[in-house]
Amino acid sequence: MGIAIVGQIVSPVFLQTDNLINVMQTMSEIALLVLAQTMILIVKKMDLSMESTMGLAPGVAAWLVVPIGAGHGLGLLPGGWAIPVTLAVGVLIGVINALLIIRFGLNGFIVTLGMLIVLRGVLTGVSGGQTFFQLPSSMLYLGSAVWFGVPASIWICLVLFAAAIVVLGWTNFGRSLYAIGGNVDAAKAAGIRTDRVLAIVIVTGSLLAALAGLLLSGRLASVASAQGNGYIFTVFAAAVIGGISLNGGKGTMFGAFSGILLLFMIQNVLTLGGVPAQWIGALNGLIILAALTISRITGGKAQE
């Protein structure tokens, strides 16, 4: 990849294992969002609320678990409950989204836009806008542990992507996502339980977002009330650069992973290259736009 060469020219630090691990660790949480969003895009839905789920799920856990006095937690549950609560909140959000989208037939973009605002608001509400800290050690573990010399969050991210590649490419369930995204009526006629698959995908997506939130909270040892805000733009940019179609039925997990890796490497190179802070945003955006245009030109077909 060209980026490696450019990176090496910009700074010899770029290709050091240390730096690459740094890039991977920084991107691991958002990569999980990309994974989740990719699944959801393949079935021709979208979930904008993910970025809020990523903040709210660990936020609620912290709120219930962090003892009174230390910040503004309620201290209602022992520390060991933090992870189950985080994941349960993720599932709950997914179930609400799935209900509104599948059962009530509401447009996914609209539902999850509404949810994005609500969930963000709820986190501000329970946290009073403040950051939760003194999290229980169970919440910190995954985000901060190091396994075989590499941060646990990198392992988790890689294992989940590998699993997703296998599931999407080599199982009936995975293929059914593509079928649903390509033509939902045809999928139904082929005996795929489309509603059930859609629900599983949406709920799993929220669950992954909650997990991503857990990792981030663990890494930062806190839950900020703005955790995750603005991530959704990056998630979509990565997915699209990775070749995922917004019209469903197309794209691979490997592509999605490459997309997010590319984005974070570019940011890393810009940082190492000492680009003035105020121009980094514009450069980053230009690179995204260029990547899109190039993938259009090489991809050939007009996107609709």
């Binding site: 293929r175 059914s176 995204g181 045809a186 006629a189 005996g191 197309k250």
Partner: protein, 485 residues
Amino acid sequence: MALDGAWITIRPGETHALVGRNGAGKSTLVNVITGLLGPDEGTLTFDGKPAPRLTDRDAWRQRVACVYQKSTIIPTLTVGENLFLNRCDHGRGRLIDWRGTRRRAEDLLSAWSVEVAPGTLAGDLSVEQRQFVEIARALSFGARFIILDEPTAQLDGTAINRLFDRIRDLQAQGVTFLFISHHLQEIYEICDMVTVFRDARHIVTSPVAELSRTELVAAMTGETAVVLGGERVSSLDADATAALSVQDLSGSAYADITFQVGAGEIVGLAGAAGSGRTEVAETVVGLRAADSGKVEIAGSRPRPGSVPAALAAGAGFVPQDRHHQGYVPAMSIADNSTLSVPARLGRGGFISNRRRNLLAETSIEKLEIKTPGPELPVSALSGGNQQKVVMARALADEPRLLVLINPTAGVDVRSKEFLLGKVEETAETGTGVLIASDELDDLRLCDRVLVMFQGRVTTETRRGWHDHDLVAAMEGMTLNAENHD
């Protein structure tokens, strides 16, 4: 529900035709029989046993295979995967064995002599290939009862013959068919029994041989049929400027096309799928631009590749596929039928709703569109009536040239007769008509038929041709009445 006390009995081994006008409930019945829809009332039995539960798709598919009217191909997946969707081979560790699946797909495709690689994206297939993939897939389940809902609507002559050969093979093996088509001659060709539906009710079931074509049409429409194809006196006005003059037109799908359509003349442009007839017609109305050559509509040369210019020059246009290019489903009949004549609705770009509705009401009356009023969205109409709206738009500006592509595709007999009758009426007012179609019924009323094969006009014939000669010409054989045995 779209069905009302409907019933049908199909005996093992027979080929049963189901006919009825658009919206009669045929496809709905198919959905019920194949387990996609549950009946509100009534029962369904296979071999005397009650139907499986709706959720048990596999059980359904062992009993009945179906080619639905709407495509059930998934364009983003490969042909091979489409064939074995949700039932791929599993290899070790419950993972899909792609190589095995691919081999089976190859076998299946070659059995059907569909010449596509299993790795091709289904979205890249031609209409015919796609249709055959659907049929091959439906039959590959090994069910002894097969439903074909308008399988021939999008196929040309050769393809239909291949399909019928295959059906006859299976008939010989004792497979049962339920066959739906608006082409009545097909019913007589391969079916034993026929059932007629009208307004979601069962009207009659009878052996095909005992029901004449006229009786059949009468049963479908509930009224005595008008006989179509009676002698028509040509309304060609040789003195007036030609409505259309095409010279040396060459483009990606055709070459060296030269012909004229006189004022008041009806000219057919026949040809199999891929012969270039649709492309020529679309070039005439400006949907495409030719590489070279010229198109003159009623004496003026509109800018190539511009629909508005062609319309301004006096063209009216019924596009190939009404769902795709014909109408805007959410817009009202009034808007759809006046979409291409804004200038007649008011001044300075403004639209007077009163004038629009007046214009639309005239069309509704003239074309007998069944609607409570001009404000109804077109999506709420049946297929035949939707096609009439498209026709109304083409006629709205009293065109000098009317270009029709497959004007009666998927339209029931009655509406077909009606629409073609309107075309004749229009020609009598001095309008030149160009009909690009492979449907013999559409071509029968033409004064002349030009046959295209592989992008060139190979044959020209006057009225009075024999069906088989024209079909042969469309398939690339020269039409020569003298030498025919």
